[in-house]
Structures are given as C-alpha cells and as structure tokens.
Amino acid sequence: MNNIINKVYFDNQSNTVLDKRVFDVMIPFFNNYFWNSQSIHSLGSFIKKSIEISRQQISCFLNANSSKIIFTSCATESNNLIIKGVANVMKNKGKHVIISKIEHFSILNSLIGLDVTYISVDKYGFVNEDELKKAIRKDTILVSIQYANPEIGVIQDIKKLCSIVKNNDINNSVIFHTDAVSACGMVDINFDDLNIDALTISSSVIHGPVGVAALCLKKNICVMPEINGGSQEYNIRSGTENVPAIIGFGKICELLSDEIEENCYNIKKMRDLLFDEIFEKIKYVYLNGPAKEKRLCCNVNFSIEFIEGESLVLSLDLNDIIVSTGSSCANKSLKISHVLDAINVNTTLAQGSIVFSLSKFNTIKEINYTLDILPIIVKKLRDASPLYSYFVKNCKRKN
C-alpha cells in the first residue's frame, strides 16, 4: 500500500485526497452519531441541525444567500437532476436545451429526448458568445455551460454568458446552470453575483469526502425530483442522507472560504514552474487550452509530439507520477477526447496529450522530480517512435 500512497499525484480533477481536518470532524458521524435526520426525537434533530450547518457552510462559501443547497450523491447526479428535473417541470414550454461542446459526460449523456443546440468553442475553449445569443429560442428551457474545464483548464466568463442568455430570453424563463465542479476551490465563486439559477459542485475534488455533491438552486427554481421518498432536501432529492460525507463537505467549504486564496497562490507557483520548465526542457511540445492567466491555476495540458498519451501515462506511473491523457487509446470509445476535438487539436497531436492537475498537497520537490523524469521518458518513447525517426531523417512530418 505504501507504494500506492507515495505516488506523486497530479490527477486532482478526478479525485482528491481527503483533508485530515475534514476527516476528523466526520469520524463521530460514522461511529457515534448514526441517527436519522427524519426522526422527531432529539437525536434526529441533532443530525438535522448538523446537516443544516453544512448547508450554511456551503451557501456561505458560494455566496449563495438566496438559494437552496440540495445534497446529492455525486456531481453526475446533480447534473442529471438539473437537466431532467427542469425538462420535466417545463415540458409544456418546450424541450430546447443549450450546452457547450466541452461539457462533462454527465451533461452530454443526460439529454435524451431533448432538442439540443451545442455551442462551439474557440481554439482555447472559450464559448462562442454570438452563437449562444443566436441559439436562444422561445422554447428554450435551459442553458448549461461548464464554469471551468478539467481537461484544458479554460475558465468561462459565466457572469457574461448568463447575462447574454437573460438579456435575450423574452419570456424570462430560461434557467442558467453551470457545472462548477472543476472551478470550485480554484476560482472564487459568487453565486449571487453571477446571477445564475443553478450550480453543481462536488466534494471529492476539493479534498472533501467522496459520496456527496450539491446542486445549488435559486430559491424560486422548481425541478422535478428524480428520486421520490421521504421528502428530504426540500422534497427534491429524497433518501436518507450520507451524513458523515455531508458534514465533511460542509467542513471543507468552510476551510476553503478562508484558504482558497493561499491555496491558489501556492498551486499556481508550482503549476507555473512545471509549465515553464516543460517547454524549456522538451522540444516539440504544444499547449492545449488558453494561456496561463486564463486557465485554472492547477491545470496544465500539453501535447508531446511523436508519442502517444497512454504510453506516456504508463511510463510516468512506473516512475510513481500519476497524470491523465486525452488520447484515444486511453479512452473507452477509442476516440480522442471530445474536448480536444472541440478546440480543433490536430488528431495526431491529441494522441500525445497529457494533463497535470495539481492540488495544495503537491510540493515543489514533486514538480522538480517530474521535470527530471519526464524528459527521460519522452526520449525513450521518441527513440521507439517511427514518427520521430521519420521526422529526424526527413526534416518533415509523416502524413
């Protein structure tokens, strides 16, 4: 097990390690405070109050004062709930939904039966504002645009995109949702100021526990529940709550309210070192996504030419460095990532893409170790690559 734990972990957009301070407040809710919030006795009330404290911690962190926080089991559930829940409530108005081409699969795959307009993005991943404006119709019920993309790190101007939608919505009834899973903890989110209607965040990518996420909803927004039962969570998501996880989720949001600035400062310092040095140490490397200032401070995504991403991920793993890739070989569908495709990355280059997602628990030492190892791995894989030998011999790329 030690070998697994000691790996240098740069896959923090997939899941993050639990903050010990969070785990500590969760423990009694596993072994002592096991009661059900729906029970009317004092023990049940204690759980109910504890859940409400978590809700407040999250509202406060998101500056979502005029909204309700619905706890769900994961961000996929939150995203499904907003899409299907809105589609159900508004089925008499229409079934037109607008999303960007770089949304998470939990958005992309939950649109069955709906009439969908996919808004394109530019080569950096920014949503095309004109297309968005023109896409709004009388029967549009929902717009969902990701706050930040975990793969290429692009951060959208959600406030502006939301105002475009609201200013062109004649019926004043289109719901604007943002999937803020990747932005959370890396961007200062202000729900009220964004003027949006709904937002998804997840605990497990901000050093909280797995098994809990939230859908933040403006108070007046109605969604049809996907799960019916004992009317927990404002009767929008019934079911006995995952109390220890909810307590942990609240705690990490409380901590982040104070620590987000410091975390981002430290993460950005490490990210920038990695960013600058990779281009310095390795030739024929191309950045995917926007420039440093316009992307998540934890994210680097680049393509290393002449080699393939999965073999790069495996080689780094053998050297105890954990990253991810958008190459087709690493994808279950054997296609390149839909995000790299949407930003028009050359398909061959997309095969050599590699994503580093840093966290507050990474260290400069780990970055330096990676910068020592990566060029050695790239050389080994290029020495075995027919594309590289063709390039060296002919001074041009093989078609």
Binding site: F306, I307, E308, E310, S311, L314, S315, D317, L318, S327, S328, C329, A330, K332, L334, I336, T347, T348, Q351, D383, A384, S385, P386, L387, Y388, S389, K398
Partner: protein, 126 residues
C-alpha cells in the same frame, strides 16, 4: 497497474528489438498516427528463416508490448511459420490483453506479415 498483465508491462517497460535495420530484407508498416497506433517492422531473412527483427512503434502500452513480443516470437521462425502467427498467439504470449486492446495484437502480426510479404515481393522482382 492492474489493467495490463505483468508480461505486457514487462515488454512495455523493456521493449526488445527496438530500432531499425538499415539493410532490411523486408519492411512492413501498418496503422497511422491519427488512429493512435503505428508500427514499422524490419526483418533480415536467411535461408527462408527470420534472422533478425527490429521495430518502431507509436502507440499505447499494448501496442509497444505487442510489437516487442511479436519481434521475439518471429526471430528464428521460418517465413511460413511466421506467417501463421496470429493475434491470439500474441495475446496468449502476453498473458492476455484487455478486450479493447485486442486490435493492437492484430496490428503487430499484420505489420510482421507485411514485412514478410515485402521481402517475398522484392525477391520475386529480383
């Protein structure tokens, strides 16, 4: 790395016979970088027997491991024996491959077969 067998990981981390043969008797190329896999096999043939194999591969862990093991399996075989090598033999030799990587084992044997066919064609035209 639970995903690949130990044998795949061994061939991936220490691939045998990586390289090119300048005066190869046959060269076989298969795949393309757009699909994510490309292999080039070089063979030396003596008395209808494969004397040496080298390869270069752009591709995933499975593609590199397959190339390595195919090169090992082919050396010393007669041309006919080598032509009979198929993807099941390769997957078996690697203690199995994940389902979605079985096409890599096809690529490996196909690249070898193309090198042999290239040798036979050259021979015929001499």
């Amino acid at each position: 790395m639970e995903y690949y067998s130990e044998k795949v990981m061994d061939h991936f981390s220490n691939p045998r016979n990586v390289g090119e043969i300048d005066d190869a008797d046959g060269i076989g190329e298969i795949g393309n970088p757009i699909c994510g896999d490309m292999m080039v096999f070089y063979i030396k043939v003596k008395n209808d027997r494969i004397e040496n194999v080298k390869f270069k591969t752009f591709g995933c862990g499975a593609a590199i491991a397959v190339s390595s093991v195919v090169s090992e399996m082919a050396i010393g075989k007669t041309l006919n024996e080598a032509m009979e090598l198929n993807n099941d033999d390769v997957a078996k030799e690697l203690d199995g491959l994940p389902k979605n990587k079985m096409h890599c084992s096809n690529l490996g044997t196909n690249a070898l077969h193309r090198a042999i066919e290239n040798y036979i064609m050259k021979k015929k035209s001499e």
